[in-house]
């Protein structure tokens, strides 16, 4: 990522594992965009963010938009590429064969294989207004530059 590029950062200390981010992401990527209908869609809408427990801390994980992405390296059909302008890792599902090599390659387990649709899927930043960030009730997720993230006040542990 170049300096000034925006991506999603997570402050683990603020994450309470409520998974509002996962629901919001699924909803944003659903056909209907309406929660009550989206949960009945088949195949189901997928979440590109997942909250995991990592060494005792809650950790919302989505594509890190790596500077030297392993997934791009292994992608034979060229479905994954690094966009020169934005610095983002972009997935073109129409070129994806569903081989799953990117899933194995990603060090963050942040790209997934959709067994129903036969393609990979990952965080696409929702075109600039990430749903997960908007949904997060504690402000754990931030869409901004690394400097902006660092400049944010650290939260102490609350009893």
């Amino acid at each position: 990522m170049a300096k000034g590029d925006k991506r999603i950062f997570a402050d683990d200390a603020r994450c309470l594992a409520c998974r509002a981010c996962e629901i919001a992401c699924s909803l944003r990527h659903s056909e209907s965009g309406v929660l009550e209908q989206a949960i009945a869609e088949r195949p189901p809408a997928r979440s590109c963010v997942v909250v995991r427990l990592n060494k005792g801390k809650n950790s919302p994980v989505q594509c890190m938009q790596c500077a030297r992405p392993k997934c791009v390296e292994v992608c034979e059909p060229g479905a994954l590429r690094k966009d020169e302008e934005t610095g983002l890792v972009v997935l073109d599902q129409s070129k994806c064969t569903g081989c799953g090599l990117c899933v194995e390659a990603c060090p963050f387990d942040a790209i997934f294989l959709d067994d129903d649709r036969g393609v990979a899927y990952k965080c696409d930043l929702c075109g600039g207004q990430p749903a997960c960030v908007a949904a997060c009730p504690t402000g754990s997720l931030l869409f901004g530059t690394r400097e902006e993230f660092r400049a944010r006040e650290k939260v102490g542990s609350r009893e």
Binding site: R14, L16, A17, C18, R52, P137, T138, R158
Partner: protein, 649 residues
Amino acid sequence: MAEKQQRSIDPATERALERAAEREIDTVWDRWAAMQPQCGFGSLGVCCRICTMGPCRIDPFGEGPSVGVCGATADTIAARNLARMIASGVAAHSDHGRDVAHTMLLMAKGEAKDYQVKHERKLREVAGYLGIEGADTKDPQQLALAVAEAAYAQFGQQEGELSLMRRAPKKRQDLWRKLGLWPRGVDREVVEIMHRTHMGVDNDYHNIVLAGMRTALADGWGGSMIGTDLQDIMLGCPTPIRAKVNLGVLAEDKVNIVIHGHEPMLSEMIVEASRDPELLKLAAEKGAKGIQLSGICCTANEVLMRQGVPSAGNFLQQEVAIATGAVEAMIVDVQCLMPSLDEVSRCFHTKLITTSPKAKFPGVEHIEFDERRALDVAKQIVRIAIENFPNRKPELVEIPKETMDLVAGFTMEYVFEMLGGRFRPSYRPLNDAIMAGRIRGVAGVVGCCNPNVLHESCHIGMVKELLRNDVLVVQTGCSAVSCAKHGLLQPEAAFEYAGKGLQEVCEAVGMPPVLHLGSCVDNSRILTACCQMVAEGGLGEDISDLPVAGAAPEWMSEKAVAIGMYVVASGILTVFGKPLPVLGSRALTDFLCGPELEDLVGARWAFEEDPVKAANLMMDHIDRKRQALKLRPMMYPSERDKELAAVSG
């Protein structure tokens, strides 16, 4: 990529889990791991789903909403949630007690011929407490009817006072009256909590907690106590009995019937049915050497206490019991039944049978228990189990070999004889032992098991720390089964684990240093024992003066919350391992755990996850009570006493 983590300190359970994993059978531990991480809003108590202006969440970091849509603060939200947990726990225990009272009513009217009065003395005592005329003179059958009617009526009472609380020391009764904590009727209190916690009713967390305490008291001195007392009357008052515990009690060559749930009106009948000569003959015809009964959870404790039926394990072992492949039938009634039992039983020949209309599983065979035909229904169920014996698949059977002996069957009543002897039954020797410093005090270590801690490690860790410091431990429920499995409920355990003072008492009496009081409704025995200790004299005038403390180190259920609350409201410090879901409200947490509640009711809550630290917290409290009573220092100071003396110089 999950590492193989130890899930239990019980080797039988660990081995059984390995086998389950090999067979790809999911257990509660797998599902718990898959649920991680769990929602912090829920754990902190600041998620509110009471109305659909919500659901609301208070941001515990203080940046998002600090009130719900209606304006409720974290204090109100957490207090309401806690109150509903109490109401549910009280309801569970009290419905159990109500069922027992109802059975006694049917029995007294001659409509439930399989039950009878087995303990006339207790019948007359309970009649006295219920304020029934002629408690000493009436004919037992007549008296049974009066007792049953009076007990049954406690549940639907609208006004007045629950009767059995008059057993408490006068000072405690006066305090309850002064604070408005005396429940008016069992059901009324539960209903009122549901009302108070409805949207837009009680907003004051103090007020909510007070109502919660009153409702909890309707359990401990109401529903649960009625359950214990009437069960003793109809099924016999337990006396010390030898038994076995853990999965190894399942038999290779007999029909295994596992009884799970809570109400002994059913399990006692299963015991009787299993002794029926015709059914035993049928078992032999099917190739079995007999019928082996065992239990899970509290119904196991009930038949353990009175009949010596072994316990196959506690709450977390219910699935692995089936996964031994050796269970012909698991018979369940109410409470602590995992819905997963159905799926697990389908991996084997095991028949899961529900018996209560309140607890059904979709698609699972239901044979409704009817007290009017109790023994017939029990025999019907036992017959089904026997006929299932030939379906056992030997290649799937692996019964862990671990069992442990224990002595159970201790009650408030038995302590009189145990310590005072047959001719001069009395609590005097117990009180004297405490006053003389042989016994530091008494700790009730009770409660459930939970996969959120290393299974049984907190029960064992806490009890061992208490024993080495001369604290007599009394137990109920899954905690008792845990400690029994590790050999702590044998008289011999006094020599291995107890300090010198406690050892001397145990040796003189021939009792274990850890006394099994029974099931979770039998926590009421702890209350009545405390009343006797106060009445005997020398240890203060109120329950809150006694050098005692309570703990549930691995708690799971709402019933545990209800018990904790009634123990506190009765004047006894209560320590939970993982905290109540209230930490999202600083004010509520401070109120529950702080000096204000202690000033009010003479006791408070404490949360401490480390079992040894928790035990020491309890002992600090017990020592303070000893000091206030001006009791002698401990006769045989422990390491801990010496360290504390060194520090204070």
